[in-house]
């Protein structure tokens, strides 16, 4: 009970608190302020909280991380580009970089292609919503939960004993030897990527399904009258029409894949050559307490994502 009371108090404090503070400021300014004050204060009242939170919790720490990436492990002595050199030359970091490239290519490719297939097929099957919900379900659960689900599927037992993981049982049924999925480099990487594909495919699916419905039927029918085959209609009419949706989905997927951390942490903890930048960044910063190297890795991640942030903001603004 004690725990419950504490939790409820915290929830009430946090949730009611913010409403009271922001609402209170607005109410007092409008109630007591003169005409001039009200006009001058208005942008601050509505956008001040946003600016303050973004400034203090996003902008300042980001600048600080850039600074720390040029400092030693304790953040005291300036070491120049030493950490960045480490981030591009050490074996640990290079494996992580290699894996990130693989993850981006494989996971983005598979999720976008499977997602588009599911969206297209779901318009033709008897239970379109059910089909999409099945593929989408993993998006609702945590990556940690998804990793546990697949950990059970991938469980390995030596050949002599009975298999309790479905994947290895299928291998045995097919007449091959069971496989220690998580420890066999480099293939283990692909099995981890598959977890992400299973989780994420629902996103492209629902976005594409919504986008397909915006394609004017006149366009499609005109193409059909001209004698175009179905694949041709998709590639020359439908996909070009929803091009900007496809690019937003690709950007979102690439960024999500670059940030992947939970799946690795729960499955292999980056061992057996499965490390990725985000996981190594956490290891360096919070396990090995080397804020210089950790920050350098964060900076690498940021520099890869930065152009995408720009592209994404432009697409979003154009679409609103």
């Amino acid at each position: 009970m004690d725990i419950l009371t504490r939790a409820l108090t915290a929830i009430a404090f946090g949730s009611v608190g913010v409403v009271v503070i922001l609402g209170g400021i607005l109410w007092s300014v409008e109630r007591f302020g003169g005409r001039r004050l009200r006009r001058v204060a208005r942008p601050w009242v509505f956008l001040g909280p946003l600016g303050l939170i973004i400034g203090v919790l996003v902008v300042l720490p980001t600048i600080r991380t850039v600074y720390l990436s040029f400092m030693d492990r304790a953040g005291r002595e300036f070491v120049g580009v030493e950490n960045l050199i480490w981030a591009f030359t050490s074996d640990t970091a290079l494996i992580a970089l290699r894996n990130n490239v693989l993850w981006v290519v494989v996971v983005t490719g598979l999720t976008v292609v499977i997602g588009m297939l599911v969206a297209i097929i779901s318009e033709r099957v008897r239970f379109p919503r059910l089909f999409r919900s099945i593929v989408f379900m993993p998006m609702a659960i945590s990556a940690v939960g998804a990793s546990v689900i697949w950990k059970l599927v991938y469980t390995y037992r030596p050949e002599t004993s009975e298999q309790i993981g479905l994947f290895n049982q299928i291998l045995v049924w097919l007449g091959s030897e069971p496989m220690a999925v998580f420890t066999q480099a480099p293939w283990n990487n692909f099995f981890l990527m598959w977890i992400m594909v299973w989780v994420w495919t629902g996103f492209p699916t629902v976005v594409f399904a919504a986008a397909l419905r915006t394609v004017p039927s006149e366009l499609v029918e005109a193409a059909a009258l001209d004698g175009a085959s179905q694949p041709t209609i998709y590639f020359s009419v439908v996909f070009p029409y929803i091009r900007s949706t496809i690019s937003v989905v690709i950007i979102a997927t690439v960024v999500t894949v670059l940030k992947v951390f939970d799946i690795i942490r729960v499955s292999t903890n980056g061992l057996y050559d499965t490390n990725v930048i985000a996981n190594e960044m956490i290891q360096q910063s919070f396990r090995l307490l080397d804020s210089g190297r950790g920050s350098a890795l964060a900076l690498v991640l940021f520099l890869i994502i930065a152009p995408l942030m720009w592209l994404n903001a432009r697409e979003m603004k154009a679409q609103r």
């Binding site: 208005r42 509505f46 546990v148 689900i149 949706t245 956490i282 991640l301």
Partner: protein, 307 residues
């Protein structure tokens, strides 16, 4: 978000084909569905098997003689002398997720109004900047944030921001900061689309901004609030990175994801308990998802589909 313009999909592309093409696509749909569903079924079955059964045979062998047990769930919910229970972890998850949803929503409703109905210089630039932050990786700020919250921020000897030794509050604020850009985007699109006459009429009638905001804008914005709220709640409830960094394994605050990840590391062989724990951590998100799927998907797809 306001009114998605949809067309009836053309018959050309939806006719359920009896052609080989149509049959092949149908078969593919069945295969994909099976691959997506079977792992979760395996988890469910494993979670109601005994320790002996789960460690000796595969879950697919149970059909025929099957005596499901809920003991694993009781054991996991309660915890043990050395391990925190999942019941407490569930409560901790809620204590993180509810404020981490309400705070950004409130701030974003204010900001959405500001971006739509208050004129000031630099408004568009600021909005574009916030949009760019939508995919900003939180990794870029973790080290300074953690030390900032626990030790404060000072330049030389001068303390600028005092230490804030409230890990729970820190988690709320970090989730708020990184959830805000999406919230602002969704809400701004919605608030900006409200009819200008409605707001002008209220102003002419002598309503001040507080009254316009509370009586007109807020009630009309509820659908967008629901869309972002459900999305953010599930996102925070399922997040692992931020709580594991800011709260760690402290049983008094660690949420389900942290607890489950710890269990997966230490109880690798106790699959019956691991499965029960995983299912407990999925239960609430699944209920929310299946009952409010429409809103969740709206929050998720906002901005990606041309309207």
């Amino acid at each position: 978000m306001t009114s998605t313009r949809t067309h009836t999909p053309s018959r050309v592309l939806t006719s359920p084909g009896r052609s080989p093409w149509g049959v092949a696509l149908g078969a593919l749909a069945v295969v994909i569905s099976l691959v997506w569903v079977i792992p979760t079924i395996g988890l469910l079955v494993t979670s109601v098997r005994t320790k002996e059964a789960a460690s000796q045979t595969g879950w697919w062998t149970v059909f025929g003689e099957f005596a499901p047990t809920l003991d694993n769930y009781f054991e996991v919910l309660q915890g043990s002398a050395t391990q925190a229970g999942f019941l407490q972890a569930t409560i901790n998850s809620l204590a993180i997720a509810v404020p981490s949803t309400v705070i950004p929503l409130t701030v974003a409703v204010f900001a959405a109004y500001g971006f739509s109905w208050v004129d000031f210089r630099g408004r568009d630039t600021m909005f574009l900047f916030v949009l760019a932050l939508m995919i900003m990786p939180v990794h870029m700020a973790l080290v300074p944030l953690l030390s900032g919250f626990s030790r404060g921020v000072s330049v030389g000897e001068v303390v600028i921001i005092p230490a804030l030794n409230q890990p729970l509050l820190a988690v709320w604020l970090v989730h708020t900061a990184y959830g805000l850009p999406l919230a602002v985007y969704i809400l701004r699109n919605f608030v900006a689309a409200l009819p200008k006459e409605l707001i002008d009429a209220a102003r002419v009638d002598g309503a001040n901004e507080f009254q316009v905001f509370v009586r007109i804008v807020f009630p009309l914005t509820i659908p967008a609030i629901a869309a972002f709220g459900i999305f953010q709640f599930l996102w925070v409830f399922n997040d692992y990175l931020i709580p594991v960094i800011f709260l760690g394994l402290d049983p008094g605050t660690a949420p389900l994801t942290v607890r489950l990840a710890d269990m997966a590391g230490t109880l690798g062989e106790d699959q019956h308990l691991l499965a029960a724990g995983a299912f407990i951590s999925m239960a609430l998100p699944l209920v929310v998802f299946f009952s409010l799927q429409r809103y969740f998907i709206q929050g998720l797809t906002a901005g990606a589909v041309k309207e």
